[in-house]
Amino acid sequence: MVSNTEAIDQVRSIGDQYKYGFVTDIDSEFAPKGLNEDIIRLISKKKEEPEWMLEMRLKAYAHWLTMEEPTWQKPKYSAIDYQDSYYYAAPKTTEKPKTLDDVDPKLLETYEKLGIPLREQEVLAGVQGAPAVAVDAVFDSVSVATTYKAKLEEQGIIFGSISEAMKTHPELVRKYLGSVVPYGDNFFAALNAAVFTDGSFVYIPKGVRCPMELSTYFRINAENTGQFERTLIVADEGSYVSYLEGCTAPQRDENQLHAAVVELVAMDDAEIKYSTVQNWYPGDEHGRGGIYNFVTKRAACRGRNSKVSWTQVETGSAITWKYPSCILQGDNSTGEFYSVAITNNAQLADTGTKMIHIGKNTRSRIISKGISAGKSDQTYRGLVRMQRGADSARNYTQCDSLLIGDKCGAHTIPYIESQNWSAQVEHEATTSRIGEDQLFYCQQRGMGDEEAVALIVNGFCREVLQTLPMEFAVEAQKLVGISLEGSVG
């Protein structure tokens, strides 16, 4: 018990260890504060969007005005003043950069500091010999650079910012945008549809296996801005892609809203692996500041034998509120959700997944590991639904929570709905803390408190961390250690 108390005290004294809290001093162009049709028209105009896009935005905005902000979630937050925020902030450039050399050196420096390689020869997280990763870097409201575009184009892969794709491949964007998450889906999805500024678009043509990891790196820099990005990934028949998403933000005292929408579409025999390492600024130890990460992520497994796998490591954000989901429409399609969520200090998280089984022989697997420390509060909320036609579908769910200290909370709220007798659903959940005996065992072998805790927690999350691409797995393991630094036992 003594060691526990000490460790908890330590964490308190260490306070904030967020490495990415710096601000880049860069000239930015802002649209005026506030949200109205004019702002939406302005965003659309800045992006030189086609008319149908503007129409969709305005429809979404009109619908959003009729919606009420949800209140059913566990983390409560003080009211957001949607009029007191910039909806468009972009680094000022006189001309569109043609090559990386034209990009503002301050931006390049920022990404270098974040460990994100915008030079094509480099790799993530300093892992030598790791395969190359193509990166789309989103800074505040716009995509500033995309690497390896040419190499990907050779195979017909489209990877870049969504605003650009709207111009170069309008038919694809128009066909799929909003087809998985319609603008009326929920309050924040509607807001996003109205004001989204950029994001990534990926299209993998039939039968192509994407030769490298694709990655988007989101950075909020400007003050008083919300970030609303939109990601759309379409994997055509028989294709495969692995996609990584990372994010950080400067340390500020006020809360910033990040309301993104991610849509994935997998056709026959296609596979999408989507990994997130979310490390937005979590606020300080008293819960001041930090990002509100309210994101809608959904995948449609439209084709037979399609597969979507979500992996998330959630360590940042003041509030994380999202449920990456799979709609298993195609027969024999598979959905997976692997999640590690770590909350410390005053962080709040309400996350989980939805697996909607529609097709025959659909499979889903949910592994969720939650670690709460400090005064944080964490909820796993999930839905597994077997619809009438989901013959012989299967689901396996495991949710484990680890509590570190007696001031935090861990909650599990699964919904299980089965309308098909041949569907098998299994759900297991446990809650416990790090055993005194486990700690003692490690300490006895000469490990310090922190080291022992990091080891035990990493062991607890191993099943999930293993599913990350290698470059991210290394980073995620370190992140687990840092997030809990000292934190406990």
Binding site: C408, Y415, I416, Q419, Q424, E428
Partner: protein, 449 residues
């Protein structure tokens, strides 16, 4: 339903109209309690899908207010009781017909000193002060809107008081008969059991209906189990398929107290058993188990909430169900560990077997935990019978329907074996066997139709 769908507080007007004529009217705290119930129900309204705890159980059939509060005293004899092994048990028998205690049918002779088993209506008139510290103290009206409605109608039911250290020699058997006659009838019985320190007792409840029209039974039971007292509680719900049976039980456990509940639900068009247990003292121990059987268009709902409000408490739940026809099953179970309730041990298991392609199950196990030194878990499964196991038995010469029945019985026996009183366990087992006999061998496949 042009009128029905807009009526958000059906039956409230009836309650306000008739309650001034009820036993205890004019006693300040009784009036206040009924008013609090009416107010709470007005604020909340009839539960709808938006209410987390009523998400899967739709009460729209109550909206049209066709049910009339049962008029007093239909004199009927005691119908044949199910489960000879239970009804044959020596017991203190208290019989309710349409929500009113029928003294002529009760057998309460030989009550030991310090034990009172009687009708609530009687004490409300004769000695309301005895009820005041207990009635309405355990049930949380804002969490249970239907209990709020019941409170507005509070009139009669069973009241049991067992004094310190008394070990009751025989179980109390509450037999509740709903006899709707021709029309659509409503009853709102209210039961109270107060166990003083170290007291021990067993309570058996049998809920059945006599033939007739449709009925709506809205029951509330409050149980107080003081330090080191023990209460075993076995409930059989076998109401007719034209009835709506909603039962809300609230139990408060003090330090070292023990409460064991087993609910067998097999009847009613809509049958719901909601149990909320508050473990208020260190070392309290609570077991909630149940079996449900449904077929046709039945909906059967088991909802539990266990609050670990003190350290070193244990809770344990096993619910198993079998669903045939187009029936729907619901299990919602929440374990709530409050800040400081260290060394909690909370376990829960919910399993459902779907016997027919049109059956449906909705499960929501929930953990809400604010203490770290705890061991809490829940498990839930749903699916059909293991075809390999059926094949194994069939290949050994057992007919398919027999094989299926054997496997279902084995599946349910894990829950049934939790029943500590043998005759009750036997009675419930027999009931399950009979149910399986008449529902699992009708079609050549052995599936209930």
């Amino acid at each position: 339903m042009p009128d029905g769908s807009t009526n958000i507080t059906p039956y409230l007007a009836q309650a306000l109209e008739v309650s001034p004529t009820f036993a205890g009217a004019g006693v300040d705290w009784v009036d206040a309690l009924r008013n609090a119930g009416a107010q709470c129900y007005t604020d909340h309204g009839l539960p709808v899908r938006r209410d987390e705890y009523w998400r899967y159980t739709n009460l729209n059939s109550l909206r049209d207010e066709r049910f009339q509060l049962a008029s007093a005293d239909p004199l009927i004899g005691l119908p044949p009781l199910p489960h000879p092994s239970v009804s044959g048990l020596a017991s203190y028998r208290i019989v309710l017909v349409n929500g009113r205690v029928q003294p002529k049918l009760c057998m309460l002779d030989g009550m030991p000193d310090g034990v009172l088993i009687t009708d609530l209506g009687g004490i409300l008139v004769a000695a309301p002060e005895r009820l005041e510290p207990h009635l309405g103290r355990v049930v949380s009206l804002k969490d249970m809107p239907m209990a709020a409605l019941n409170t507005a109608f509070l009139q009669d039911g069973m009241a049991v008081f067992i004094d310190e250290e008394i070990v009751l020699d025989k179980p109390v058997h509450l037999i509740s008969i709903t006899a709707p006659g021709e029309g659509a009838m409503m009853v709102q019985p209210r039961h109270l059991v107060v166990m003083d320190k170290g007291a021990q007792a067993t309570l058996i409840e049998t809920h059945i209906s006599a033939a007739g029209g449709s009925s709506f039974n809205n029951i509330v039971t409050e149980l107080q189990v003081a330090e080191n007292a023990r209460l075993n509680h076995f409930v059989f719900q076998g109401e007719s398929e034209t009835s709506v049976h909603l039962s809300g039980t609230a139990v408060a456990l003090s330090a070292g107290a023990y409460y064991e509940s087993f609910v067998l639900q097999g009847g009613a068009a809509i049958g719901r058993s909601e149990i909320r247990a508050y473990l208020n003292g260190p070392g309290a121990d609570c077991r909630l188990d149940g079996v449900y059987l449904a077929t046709g268009n039945q909906l059967v709902d088991n909802t539990t909430y266990i609050e670990h409000a003190a350290p070193e408490c244990r809770s344990h739940q096993v619910y198993k169900g079998v669903l045939g026809g187009q029936s729907r099953g619901v299990f919602q179970g929440k374990t709530h560990v409050t800040r400081g309730a260290q060394q909690t041990d909370g376990r829960q298991l919910s399993q459902a077997l779907l016997l027919s392609p049109r059956a449906e199950i909705n499960v929501r196990p929930e953990l809400e935990i604010y203490a770290d030194d705890v061991k809490c878990s829940h498990g839930a499964t749903a699916g059909e019978l293991d075809e390999n196991a059926v094949f194994y038995l069939v290949s050994r010469g057992i007919t398919r329907p027999d094989a299926r029945r054997m496997l279902i019985e084995a599946f349910l026996s894990q829950a049934i074996s939790e029943i500590s009183l043998r005759p009750v366990g036997e009675g419930f087992s027999t009931h399950i066997q009979q149910w399986l006999g008449s529902h699992v061998d009708q079609s050549p496949d052995g599936d209930p139709s």
